[in-house]
Symmetry: C2
Subunit: 379 residues, 2 copies
Amino acid sequence: MREVAILGVGQVPVREHWDRSVRHLAADAGRAALLDAGVAQVDGIYVGNMTGGRLNHQRQLGAVVADALGMWGVEAVKMEAACGSAGSAMRQGIIAIASGEMEAVLVIGVEKMTENGFPQTTAALTTAADADYEIEQGVTFVGLNALIMRRYMYEYGYERRDFAPFALNAHANGAKNPNAMFRQPISMETYDNGRIVSDPISLFDASPIGDGAAALLLVPAEKAPRAVRVLGSAVATDTLAVHDREDPLSLKASELSVQRAYAQAGVGPADIDLFELHDAFSVMAALSLEACGFAERGEGVRLAQEGAILPDGRIPICSMGGLKARGHPVGATGLYQIAEATLQLQGRAGAAQIDGVDIAMTQNIGGSGATIVTHILQK
Amino acid sequence: MREVAILGVGQVPVREHWDRSVRHLAADAGRAALLDAGVAQVDGIYVGNMTGGRLNHQRQLGAVVADALGMWGVEAVKMEAACGSAGSAMRQGIIAIASGEMEAVLVIGVEKMTENGFPQTTAALTTAADADYEIEQGVTFVGLNALIMRRYMYEYGYERRDFAPFALNAHANGAKNPNAMFRQPISMETYDNGRIVSDPISLFDASPIGDGAAALLLVPAEKAPRAVRVLGSAVATDTLAVHDREDPLSLKASELSVQRAYAQAGVGPADIDLFELHDAFSVMAALSLEACGFAERGEGVRLAQEGAILPDGRIPICSMGGLKARGHPVGATGLYQIAEATLQLQGRAGAAQIDGVDIAMTQNIGGSGATIVTHILQK
């Protein structure tokens, strides 16, 4: 199979976009990626989206986006894997180019979540979990993650505020990213005063929903020798329900997908200069760091406390705000992560630029770890 | 790219399955396909589904199905293109095998539509159309198709009952298919007495919703020299809204996708022995026949009246009942079509068997023709 390169990047700032529908957000990001790449036409469009059918009353977003971009006729489809939707779209786009089936592919992640009230949005988000065996019990999606965080604290002897470094790092980095939803650093005092959403998760251990879209233009690497290359791309699954797992503190799908991606890329954790992980909740950031080999079991939080996750640390994470501060438009997030990693590799990350990023990794999570998508990129 | 073959077929009868959730239906069909193929493990699962997030409160069906099949860890994702979801999943499964990325892929289309009341189901189906510019006007999805049928009658001088041969053929064929929802032939009198759903569409010019799942097991053709081969696979899009088309009676995406598939297969309309088309509404069957080169513009209905679509006709369609009589579990339909075409090619279609089927074609439509997926198969 051919190597794949990222030739263009497009992003819409994560905001409450009252004047743009889901199609406009997707088309805005798509056009930006096309312009960035200097490409006018593609062979395929892969769209990642989670809640459009419910919150925007619009399905068939592949055709919707092709239509909005004026690319009538082009092959297009939507992928959905809850919050792992955009990472999954990237994976299919890569296969389409690598196979030789397509010469140029546009992948777009989009989500418009703020035009409905919170009860509807919360209900839409629960569909990421197990409808029959988790949600039926009355738990929300945040509630499930609160149970995981509580278990982590109990098992390893942490306090709630031990998780603060994740939020402080994310908000400090988001302040440097014009596309971030929250652009203010926070203090330890602010963190401590965070309103509890679902004990022990406070506002500062949970990412905010938002409207947004991110897009990438993919081509064969042989046609773009100086573009960022995809070294690894892998998806793995785990049980849908957390209670079905032997160990709720082990992200098996993260381990599996990262091992596959490491093997494809011929690299290991020591080679990764930047890790855009899925900090939908602080505890998930800790679990990802552990599953990917950056920390031993139970040491993910300690790694953050030691400063290793900071821009000048051993393994910087969430360099442009992460889900926590850039915002988490669920089905778009996986492509924001890859867009940001690409900009970092190219030295185009502006005020958020980190020095010496040669290899970057992204990890996008669907549900409570049921679908996990890992990508490894090199400049 | 490698040639792809269909090694196994699995179907769940289309019914109101009150005792099975969406995961059970998908797993039942998946297991049947694995058993049929004699394969125990796959590298990837591609699921087609449209309304699960809304009607079953369950998204992330890739992981859901991997979990239900006990295939923890395997790569999995869901594709959605409204009623073209399952055909789109097939297309991605084919690319995954053809590329060399995977050696065995399970594609499953599933839909569970009858556990909600009709208002909810109707609302869920409208998401196939343009939320901002069609549905906002108050039209339903059936209503849009009624406008197209009315225009067809006006433009070409047909009466409503001229469309009857489509329904009569579908019900006669469905009677021979144990997986069909409706298993009784209907008479012209029954057709004439059909209750109007949205004038001029009666119950007998509209397909019924239902619960169902169909699955196929794909492998490289080199590993299964006697299995049914995929000669062509193509997706094309058109404007989402019917009113944006230059000609509402021309299915541009059907023309484009069939031309691509014909070119890949090196065949033309004269070579097709069986055409499993998307008769969600009788008028769509007529438009597909015209777009694919079996009839001139406005002659699709005449072709049916001449008997060409019957099992012993020049171009048999809906050989196992079609959407009309087998039933239309929307996100599963595209794979029921391919499953049925495969059984016909293998001589395993039972009482519905048609003689001399060497090359079969399927066409799966999303929305009012915004996404159209064509597959050409050979025994």
